[in-house]
Amino acid sequence: MDIYDIRIGEITEQYLAVIDRMKQLDLDVAGEFLLMAAQLVHIKSRLLLPVSDEVSDEEGEDPRAELVRRLLEYQRYKEAGSLFERLPQLDRDIFLNHGCTTDIFPAETPQDVDMTVSVYQLANAFHLLMKNVKTDVFHEVVRESLSVADYIAKISHRMTECTRMAFHDFFADSFSRAELVVTFLALLELIRMRMIRIEQVASFSEIWLARVASTEQLQRLYIEEKILDYD
């Protein structure tokens, strides 16, 4: 189908048919299709109504324009993708030297300077490690050092590095139940002490923790964690 000439009825029917099949299998996918279908039906309803200047002013841009723009842009990248496919690719069409050797290299050990590692690799290393740590081992570690004071110190430390953090960022996915509870208690304590504040834009949206205290006040908490003595 030509994307410049959207035959609304046809697409709508196709999408509705797809939804029929998909919604039994995958709610998320069905949701995406539903959104698209709703957009299309909206477009169609606009087409059926007489065009009046007032209405178009109120409703702003033609919804079709947004869809056309999106589809056209998507098509550009799809073409770029096949363009990439045709470019000579390393290890498929073009090859690098693996053979040339010098006899001197193994003699010296490499010194520091830039290391080739990305944030992704770092995060992945931690993720894999946490995934592989056995839950029982984990509980043991946690029980040893778990105190609200420790977690107040940890959170204070993190809050000195930025002014606002998402609530869920404090809870690593790998936290044990005990760790989750202690982290939560620590957050409550910090709020009670008016060191941080809770913010939320709408019900069920992300909860944000904003720094209220100065960096120095938080640092004191972190350094003098023993004073709190919650154990």
């Binding site: 033609d62 324009a65 990248y77 770029a80 993708g81 096949s82 496919e85 470019l87 073009i94 030297n97």
Partner: protein, 185 residues
């Protein structure tokens, strides 16, 4: 001069990554102009017909690579075929290459489908990198392409990406076929 040319040739031959003019000047302990004239000579020499090796400008530097027309013959040396990139992976890579820095939500908005799996594969192949977080609520991760992406496709830099067809340059007849004008043109 011949000595410098030999040294630069050897540096380029041995280095795992492309070497920039600046880097070569530093390594050879000479100035950039000398390096420029020597590398120009080497390029002219290797890129003449008859050689199976070319000196190419890639990812901000110079690198020896095999000539593209030998691809099918050279594949016989390969023990295993490299994993072929799926159309989904290429398309996602294209969106990220042209629009970086970009969030996953923006990619999925364009593609209309979940792209987490594809992006993970591209990250693992070192074609993508995390650039930081976008300064909007939720702080989503921002993605961009790596230096290896440039090496993989033999691009000098991001400006060397193939030019995209302009989607604003619509066929006038097609524009007329739209009863309602988009507000932005």
């Amino acid at each position: 001069m011949t000595e410098l040319k030999a040294l630069v040739e050897a540096f380029l031959f041995v280095s795992e990554a492309p070497l920039s003019i600046d880097k070569l000047a530093e390594l050879a302990e000479t100035d950039r102009n000398e390096i420029k004239s020597v590398t120009a000579e080497l390029m002219a020499q290797y890129n003449a017909t008859g050689h199976g090796i070319r000196l190419m400008e890639v990812a901000g530097g110079l690198q020896f690579r095999t000539a593209p027309h030998l691809a099918s013959g050279l594949r016989r040396l390969q023990k295993e075929r490299p994993a072929k990139m799926s159309p989904a992976a290429l398309e996602t890579l294209a969106i990220i290459a042209y629009r970086q820095p970009v969030t996953r939500a923006e990619i999925e908005y364009l593609r209309g489908v979940d792209s987490g799996g594809v992006m993970k594969t591209l990250l693992e192949r070192n074609l993508l990198r995390i650039l930081g977080k976008k300064d909007v609520p939720g702080r989503p991760l921002l993605y961009g392409t790596t230096r290896f992406f440039l090496e993989m496709f033999g691009l000098k830099d991001l400006n060397d990406l193939p030019t995209l067809k302009e989607f604003t340059a619509l066929d006038p007849e097609m524009v007329e076929a739209l009863p309602l004008e988009p507000g932005d043109q």
